[in-house]
């Protein structure tokens, strides 16, 4: 075998190997969600939020999901409290804004309007009367559960499966 034939054989082997070796998985698709999928009706309603986050990086998606997950857990835990921190929608809204401000804006460094459709999509989702609505109402356990489910759905939308 002359030198050229040897080089050609080596190249063929390398090309074969290149296709034979399993490809690295897509990083975004590899994020495994510990968040269970929301109910079908919520999943449908929250889809515009997932669409608005289509260009988000994996770390931005992770922070988004984490912020809403923590909000969901905190609000749900209120039901066991004798003196709830969020007796009504107004205080719950203040907590939501503060959580987003800290987690999304300060920690993840995401500036307003970085995702142009995200604000309107998230607002429309939460303002939907079947999700939370905009009435400043007193919160009972059922309302807290409802909000917690909505926040779960937003978290789920963030990790690309909404």
């Amino acid at each position: 075998m002359n030198a050229n034939a040897a080089r050609l054989s080596a190249a063929v082997v390398l090309v074969i190997l290149a296709f034979a070796v399993p490809r690295q998985p897509n990083r975004a698709a590899a994020v495994v969600s510990p968040i269970p999928a929301p109910a079908a009706t919520l999943l449908d309603k929250v889809r515009p939020v997932a669409d608005a986050l289509a260009a988000a990086t994996p770390s931005e998606r992770a922070v988004w999901a984490e912020v809403w997950e923590k909000v969901a857990r905190t609000v749900l835990a209120e039901s066991a409290s004798k003196e709830p921190l969020f007796p009504d929608a107004k205080t719950l809204r203040a907590f939501t804004v503060a959580s987003l401000e800290i987690g999304w804006r300060r920690v993840a460094g995401v500036s307003p309007a970085r995702f142009p459709d995200l604000k309107s999509a998230a607002e429309a989702f939460l303002a939907d009367p079947d999700v939370m609505g905009l009435d400043d109402v007193r919160l009972d356990d059922a309302a807290r559960r409802k909000f917690s489910e909505a926040a779960h759905a937003l978290a789920y939308a963030g990790i690309g499966r909404g």
């Binding site: 809204r93 939501t96 995200l118 009435d135 400043d136 109402v137």
Partner: protein, 312 residues
């Protein structure tokens, strides 16, 4: 001020009408309506709550003999404020209750009439029936493209004669006073006021237009004099050496003389203090046409501006 002042009255008692109405109440007196109501002898002025919620509030001036509409409308408005501030009910502040509507309902609909051609005036029980059965309207609110201002003489005269237009009745019915009960003496007044229930007072007792001062230097005292067939709201009670009620008139800033600085500015010259024994005489015991109000059906809770506060 006092120099421009032209008093308007308009309390037209109807003992038979009041008796009939009171006998229709499930809980006709404070003893039945609030058997467990008690009070500490601490000064209370419900107008403080009103100006806290509505800092621009000023007492207006009744343009005709519509004092019953004015006294009862302010009572309903203060009741709404107390429902929010004292009882923590989740409702929006209504604004100024429209006197013309309360007056019109009390003169026409509440009496089962089509028209009331009988001059000006009304009485307490008729207004009680008006606000509990027909409800209240709000001044300057848009009702099907129209607004109705406070202190409009033509409007008060027209509705006092023709009643409130039928098209407005559904709007009024959304904001009724749930319950009224007869107040028979100063003790009843204290129970009501100290628990956040205003009192609409109908009486024929008059007063001097210049405030007096007490031994502690507080002004704002009204001296009984003459005869006023008049409806006003009792908005406060004070104790100490001279127990009294704070009576809110509907003649704008009508009183002269030394004021009681403890009252908010909006009420210093439109409300005066009346001694407890005079209040007892004004109310008249079993002949009373004076009522405490409870349970305003307020406005839907306010809405949130958004959920995310511009963070996204």
């Amino acid at each position: 001020m006092a120099s421009e002042f032209k008093p308007q009255f308009g309390y037209d008692p109807s003992p038979a009408g009041t008796t009939a109405f009171v006998s229709s109440l499930a809980r006709p007196t404070m003893a039945e309506a609030g058997p467990h109501l008690s009070y500490l002898q601490r000064d209370v002025f419900l107008g403080d709550l009103l100006v806290r919620i509505d800092p621009k509030y000023r007492r207006g001036r009744q343009p005709i003999g519509s004092c019953v509409g004015w006294g009862w409308s302010l009572s309903a408005q203060v009741l709404a404020v107390c429902d929010i501030a004292v009882r923590g009910e989740r409702e929006g502040y209504c604004g100024r209750v429209l006197e013309a509507a309360t007056y019109g309902f009390s003169r026409v609909e509440a009496r089962g009439l089509d028209k009331n051609w009988n001059g000006d005036g009304s009485y307490g029980a008729a207004a009680a029936k008006a606000v509990t059965k027909y409800g209240t309207l709000i001044a300057d609110r848009d009702y099907d493209g129209k607004t109705y201002p406070s202190a409009d003489a033509a409007l008060e005269r027209a509705w006092g004669r023709d009643g409130v237009p039928d098209t407005l009745e559904p709007h009024a019915a959304q904001h009724k006073v749930t319950e009224v009960t007869l107040v028979r003496n100063f003790s009843d007044v204290c129970k009501a006021i100290c628990n956040g229930y205003p009192v609409a007072l109908c009486s024929t007792q008059g007063f001097k237009m210049e405030f007096g001062k007490d031994s502690e230097g507080h002004g704002g005292w009204l001296t009984a004099s003459g005869r006023w067939a008049h409806c006003q709201m009792i908005g406060g009670v004070m104790f100490g050496k001279r127990p009294c009620a704070v009576v809110c008139n509907s003649w704008a800033d009508c009183y002269s003389g030394p004021v009681d600085e403890r009252l908010p500015d909006a009420f210093r010259r439109s409300a005066g203090k009346v001694d407890a024994d005079v209040i007892d005489k004004m109310i008249g015991g079993d002949d009373s046409d004076t009522f405490a109000l409870a349970g305003y059906a307020g406005f839907a809770p306010s809405q949130l501006s958004d959920w995310t506060g511009g963070v996204l």
